[in-house]
Symmetry: C2
Subunit: 248 residues, 2 copies
């Protein structure tokens, strides 16, 4: 990538906003990002691309500039098969907790691409990294986990721009993951990701396509001043006018 990637040098309007097409590209990444399970293609993923995605992750905000993350790259197919088996076991454990009338649908859902994707990535959070300067964590010790999730989302959006699919596998027993990946006690595995080139990015989220759920109307989620507070009529109107192409 050329030096023009530096924030001070490109795309900037006088009011600090991006030019129209650049701004549109950011929204394109946000709206076109998918939790990919079914559409991984067998191509390998170039190190240069994975390196850019990790750099994006590493530029996430972190509480007290703690940067608590590590990135475990998992390529070995035997290990990935064991991880997939952990997923299958976890799915069986989760099943009885799903409402009875939805269990058949649950069983049909494709919820991971552990062995089909080019590479797996575990993004972890080292809870002890800033032991002597826990700025911003005293009241909410979870902030380091939240910082790590910001890194996951940076990775995911950069991946969309690179044409790379990402799927977050959350149906896993954390203790089993820690054993398999030899993760020490003070480190939390925050996200287990399947990463790779894809045959397509679906137009809608899988769980919407398959009838598991639908997108909630955004105006109903906006509140004014306090939780449940009515108001913000003009803002809610603006939401409905905002992106005509997103209305389904």
């Amino acid at each position: 990538m050329p030096a023009t990637c530096h924030p001070a040098q490109t795309h900037q309007n006088h009011d600090k906003s991006f030019e129209h097409t650049a701004r549109e590209a950011v929204y394109h990444a946000i709206f076109g990002r998918r939790d990919v399970r079914s559409h991984f293609s067998p191509e390998p993923l170039e190190d240069a691309v994975l390196a850019r995605l990790l750099t994006a992750a590493h530029h996430a905000p972190s509480v007290g500039y703690m940067q608590p993350w590590n990135f475990i790259v998992i390529r070995d197919m035997a290990r990935r098969e064991r991880m997939r088996d952990l997923f299958f076991a976890a799915r069986e454990q989760e099943l009885p907790n799903i409402a009875a009338e939805r269990q058949a649908l649950y069983r049909k859902l494709k919820l991971e691409g552990i062995c089909e994707s080019a590479v797996n990535l575990c993004i972890t959070c080292d809870r002890s990294r800033a032991q002597n300067s826990p700025l911003g964590r005293w009241h909410n010790p979870q902030m380091d986990l939240y910082s790590t999730v910001c890194a996951v989302q940076n990775f995911w959006l950069a991946a969309r721009a690179e044409g790379v699919g990402v799927g977050w596998v959350s149906i896993l027993d954390e203790r089993a993951v820690k054993r398999e990946l030899e993760i020490p006690a003070h480190v939390a595995p925050v996200a287990y990701l399947c990463v790779g080139r894809v045959s397509q990015f679906a137009n809608r989220p899988d769980l919407e396509e398959k009838g598991w759920g639908s997108r909630l109307p955004l105006p109903g989620l906006i509140m004014s001043e306090t939780f449940g507070g009515s108001g913000e009529a003009a803002l809610k109107d603006a939401v409905l006018r905002g992106f005509p192409s997103l209305r389904s």
Copy 2:
């Protein structure tokens, strides 16, 4: 925004990646995003812009398509002054937990823009929203909080593209925030954000500028197969070659 924002319609290369300039714009948002405290300008924030940012947040991934978030828009200055007082009180509580030699620096840091920003936003997580279909949360009940953080990061990156600054205030007592914003027991306030137009986006993170910390070398955070596993030499080389302009 025109209909061309739809993911299927713009910027796509044959291999699903964005065209060069669009991809660069996404990295620009990621690398140029700042946790803004000092540079808010007094201009108001247009509803149309805030609406787009909320739409971006609402398109975050969520576990089991739960969409657990709500958005409380706080404009009332009396309430914001009370929130700022909560911050001051929390900062005093955190101070004794900071290493003695860093307390003077800590006191000098500007850590919030609650009253100077155009608007405040509390992004919450309704822990009960998917009670009958907790897909993907049985093993890790925190996944709904993580989904909400993904919404925060979407909001933050879209804001950068719109020329809008965002600062996450984490030095707050959660119970006090819940009282002030009348947030019920089953809802968690995940992020309290200051949002508004800015006079500048700094070239480097504030905490780096002020000598609180520096960016860790990314290759040292990459591991192979297991935690602490050496390897991935080619990937680490690619990281160092990736974005020359980012080397400091």
